[in-house]
Amino acid sequence: MTTIVAPDIRKRVSRIETTPAIPAVLLPLLKLLKEPSERVDLDDVVELVSYDKAIAAQCIRVASSPLFGLAKPPQSISAAVVSLGLRRVESILLTCCMGQAFPISKWGLDPLVFWKHSLGCAMVCRKFSESLAGVDGEKAYMAGLFHDIGFLANCMVFSKEFARAVQHATQEQIPLGEAELAAMGFTHCETGRAVAEQWKLDEEIIQVIAHHHDVERSESSPALVAMVHLCDLLCRMRGLGYGYYERQKADLLFDPAWAILLKEHPDLQEVDLARFTFELDDAIEEISGLVSTVFGGSAKKS
């Protein structure tokens, strides 16, 4: 898959920013997220969120999910920050913003299925990162949440072609990326990269978006790209895919991405992949519930 973004793709994707549906807090939040956490002021975050009451309320609901492990649900954004830490609350906020950012009228994909995969991948990335020393869990979460953003861009600006790709993938039970390439000549990796560059996302996240299907070609941050590739595959193999049977086998331990990740993180050797897989099954129901909470609104608009 090529990751050079063709000018016409970039031009069509550029229309996304002018879509009025994107919550006002999203782009300032993305900017804030690029700052080192010690330089981010809690008051700035609270003020930012206070502009959008709906997002603030949703954020508190999400922070109360057992997936975030709090014994007592927080009553306010400030309380959530005290209990979960600023970085995690930023991740939750980002998730909620994303839920409102894409009220697409013609989804080529079932929006709830898409978000279940993206949020599932975000959760799995963060959980996976806990096994590896020195990996920023929230960065991993963000990478998982954004990795397939190109599918949304495709829904918005290449809706007919993408709908054909989805139909082809579903019928043939092949990976969606393969079907995109056959139907459109490019994939969500290119369109995703165009969106990410336009939104000035962190370079590491751009690499994940552009190369999570061809890890060996990533220009930087190979370990993060490799981790998202593996977690993406794992999600697709455990009921957090795109809503159809993907006729494929994943040999994760012998995937080139595993070797790339292992090179940087020798502690990967200790991960019991079978158990990790079984534990993921336990989280699926909760992830589905969370997706309905966060993304149910945008799904209804489809």
Partner: protein, 302 residues
């Protein structure tokens, strides 16, 4: 049974807290996994809780903590643990036990076999149900392979070898009569096509299914007999390895590996894994299930 209904600490994967999951129950789940490779997922956790309740009553113990102590320190711990393992796996003895495994077989694995064996001008498959109990698994395999006989496996021969240590189980298996509970997962289509009504509202497997299967008594620790089980393409051994201690288990797994053809697959129970004993097997993922794969020589992927 006195089980603490308070949630304590973050459960596996930060997933939904389980009311019945007091720390001792969680420790028992970990012990079961460590000893058997079987991970009790949340929806099946009631089996473990029920097993603990039976143990508490039988041994006149007060709470799961005391039961945990019994399982780890009491002279009769091995016997008690075996009984508990029996209880948590008992529900898996039915036809069509794991649809994800059957899907993996029919949608992915058979295609691989056909592609590989066609190159060698071989049109024959050998499947082994090791520890077939009362025949549910081999009959399920036979029916599914027969379904493919008019399509993917047209012109192919297949043979299913079904073995169990218990003579009586083997005799019951040969008769092939099943009640409602055993066929609860069997699709109506299969019931109509491959069974005939028997006495007491039970269903009997049709003779044309039976003729594909050879039933035998076999002890998996019988070294000399294991050497004769060569040339398998698929081995299924569901919840049987729990009956072996570490050394015997390793020996049996090594036999399975050498009994498989290159490119062959090994299926365990739904939430069962080989832990650190997978040796040369590759742990591979299919949608909704895992399997162990003996890769082709020189690591060539089919």
């Amino acid at each position: 049974m006195t089980i603490d209904t308070q949630t304590t600490g973050a459960p596996a994967f930060g997933a939904r807290p389980i009311a019945v999951m007091d720390p001792a129950i969680r420790q028992i789940r970990d012990l079961v996994y460590k000893v058997s490779g079987i991970y009790q997922v949340e929806e099946k956790l009631y089996l473990l809780v029920d097993g603990c309740a039976r143990g508490l009553k039988q041994l006149s113990l007060k709470n799961p903590r005391e039961y945990w102590d019994h399982l780890t320190a009491h002279p009769s711990r091995d016997g008690e643990l075996r009984q508990l393992l029996n209880e948590i796996t008992i529900g898996e003895t039915c036809l069509f036990r794991s649809q994800p495994q059957l899907d993996a077989l029919r949608k992915v694995i058979l295609r691989e076999f056909v592609a590989e064996k066609t190159k060698q001008a071989v049109k024959k498959l050998r499947v082994w149900s090791a520890g077939c109990s009362t025949g549910e698994e081999p009959y399920t395999l036979a029916m599914n392979l027969m379904e493919e006989s008019e399509g993917l496996l047209k012109g192919w021969q297949f043979e299913i070898v079904a073995t169990d240590l218990n003579d009586r189980s083997v005799e019951t298996a040969k008769v092939g009569v099943y009640g409602d509970y055993a066929v609860r997962n069997t699709p109506e289509y299969f019931k109509r096509k491959y069974f005939v009504p028997s006495d007491d509202k039970k269903l009997q497997v049709r003779p044309e299914v039976k003729k594909n299967i050879t039933f035998n008594r076999l002890n998996l620790t019988d070294e000399s007999k294991m050497l004769f089980m060569k040339g398998m393409d698929l081995i299924c051994c569901c919840n049987v390895l729990i009956y072996f201690d570490g050394t015997s288990k390793t020996r049996v797994i090594n036999h399975f590996f050498s009994n498989l053809n290159y490119g062959g697959y090994f299926f365990l129970g739904t939430s069962e894994s080989l832990l650190g004993m997978s040796g040369q097997f590759h742990l591979v993922h299919f949608p909704g299930t895992i399997a162990y794969w003996k890769p082709p020589l020189q690591g060539a992927k089919p």
